[in-house]
């Protein structure tokens, strides 16, 4: 039994090159049944068996929540990452069988909103591709502001502007087009909820600007595209399992535990949901907290860490697993 999310056996039924960096994968259930229902903003965790290394990376579902015959995800190739995206781009082919988790949503639409103001950067567009049909079907209002590097790298710009010409605004940074955020955030009707997905810097900029103009915290939602970051290898002692394991440079602590046969809880694998929160028994060194879950006080205490994205550098680390 897995303490993490339940899994589904799927078959890769289509692979489409979206542009130089982004590839789209289509999954159908291997047993031919319908996939589980999900809501816009949900993601799945894809298990990647690459030789003897196993990775589990989260990707937003971008297919319509109203069509459960398949799931689609879009993956941006990250040449400097841990290798998960490269594996998907280079090793996976049509007809391959893979394992994915049930969908989990940590970026869901607040149905009380009168309007959805979406701000996307780059591959951060993917959750919005599933949310937009959901909002349209419910006759909700939305406005998407999408920043991309160039028209060649603007994934799904053509589709979005053709389908929703009045709702989608695109900004090309190679043409020095930038979003006027101050103007945008001071002209929104009461009841607007803000949804942000993209690089860390963009999320911080939008959150800070929204706070400056008095947007309630409850109306600002964001999802950073966070896959576990690489770092220096380190050693961890698992107090409950009575094991000492090595976490390699391109592995997360959670993945290292899983490889060692230790089942640890998880859900998002992106440092947001809080499911994998782990007590630290003792440590000599410093933590590299990459999550969005722990508060400053918890971080300072040195007593908690999120093994899905966070790392450690130092002499010794003992955790309660």
């Amino acid at each position: 039994m897995s303490i993490g999310a339940e899994t589904i056996a799927v078959t890769v039924t289509d692979i489409v090159t979206v542009n130089e960096l982004v590839t789209r994968f289509k999954f159908k259930r291997t047993d031919g049944k319908l996939l589980p229902a999900f809501s816009g903003g949900a993601h799945i965790v894809v298990e990647m068996q690459h030789g003897d290394q196993q990775r589990r990376n989260p990707y937003s579902l971008m297919s319509s929540p109203f069509d459960l015959s398949y799931y689609s995800i879009s993956i941006r190739r990250d040449d400097k990452g841990r290798g998960g995206s490269l594996f998907m781009h280079q090793e996976v082919g049509i007809g391959d069988e893979m394992t994915i988790s049930y969908p989990v949503n940590v970026f869901s639409l607040d149905m009380r909103a009168k309007k959805y103001l979406m701000i996307a950067g780059g591959i951060g567009i993917t959750p919005f591709l599933a949310q937009i049909p959901q909002i349209s079907c419910l006759h909700g209002h939305f406005e998407l502001h999408y920043s991309v590097r160039s028209s060649a790298l603007g994934s799904y710009v053509g589709y979005l502007t053709a389908q929703y010409p009045n709702n989608v605004h695109t900004y090309y940074s190679d043409h020095k087009q930038y979003l006027d955020l101050d103007k945008l955030l001071t002209k929104q009707p009461l009841g607007t909820h803000l949804y942000i997905c993209g690089p860390k810097g963009m999320i911080e900029w939008v959150c800070k600007t929204a706070a400056k103009y008095g947007w309630p915290r409850e109306t600002v939602h964001y999802e950073e595209f966070l896959t576990p970051r690489s770092g220096k290898p380190f050693q961890v002692t698992l107090a409950v399992s009575n094991k000492t394991i090595e976490v390699s440079a391109n592995q997360s602590l959670l993945e290292a535990m899983e490889s060692a046969g230790v089942e640890a809880p998880y859900l998002c694998r992106g440092g947001v949901c809080g499911q994998c929160e782990t007590d630290v028994c003792s440590s000599e060194g410093h933590f590299i907290h990459n999550d969005h879950w722990l508060n400053d006080e918890q971080r300072a205490s040195g007593k908690k860490m999120m093994p899905c994205v966070s790392r450690f550098e130092g002499k010794s680390l003992v955790i309660d697993r």
Partner: protein
């Protein structure tokens, strides 16, 4: 001071804080009676904020007591209305025209705060982002769970429903949607066995 410390109760019962100025593009205050004191306490120390402030005030039994002091705050707009019903269309218009960035402050009786909050929520403001401060009367707005009629300004427990005349127990169970507490028949099992009404919180 017109403050009252409510005893601790069930989770459903609203709790109130102390208004404090927040960063925002506009500020809307809705208050009745002694709630004026809470507005004045903020306004006297934040004249810059008053330039972007809209006040809707219902004096009720306090009459002219606070009017001059409120006027002296030089808020951008000050509307004085005889009752919540009369203030309602104006409040709705304000909320319809409002933009994200507006800060909402409610102060006075539970009655006015609850009703103004229900309007603000239906306009799209998250209830947790609305500030409240109780001042003045502790009378409650009650809904009879049997006939659904609302009885305003209930000050004793039990009380008689002004619609169906059942004797109702004052509960702390609160509805944000209705902006009312629940009143439940107190002598359903033993008709006529009605405790002597006692003033609330006595």
């Amino acid at each position: 001071m017109s403050t009252f410390e409510f005893p601790e109760s069930i989770k459903s019962r609203p709790t109130y804080g102390t208004l404090e100025p927040r960063r925002g593009t506009h500020h809307l205050f809705v208050a009745d009676a002694e709630g004026a004191e809470a507005i004045i306490a903020i306004g006297q120390n934040h004249s810059d904020m008053m330039l972007k402030t809209h006040i809707i005030y219902i004096p009720k039994s306090t009459g002219d007591t606070y009017i001059d002091k409120l006027k002296a705050l030089s808020a951008k707009q000050l509307y004085i209305k005889p009752g919540f019903k009369e203030a309602l269309s104006h409040l709705r218009q304000c909320l319809t025209r409002a933009h994200m960035g507006i800060q909402i402050y409610l102060t006075g009786t539970e009655n006015i705060m609850g009703q103004a909050m229900a309007e603000a929520i239906s306009a799209g403001m998250p209830h947790t982002a609305i500030q409240t401060e109780h001042r003045g009367s502790v009378a409650r707005r009650m809904q009879c769970v049997h006939c659904k009629g609302i009885t305003e300004n209930v000050i004793t427990n039990p009380f008689v429903c002004s619609h169906c005349h059942l004797n109702l127990l004052v509960r702390d169970h609160y509805s944000r949607r209705l902006a009312a507490f629940q009143g439940v028949c107190i002598d359903a099992e033993d008709p006529g066995n009605i405790p002597t009404p006692v003033e609330l919180y006595q």
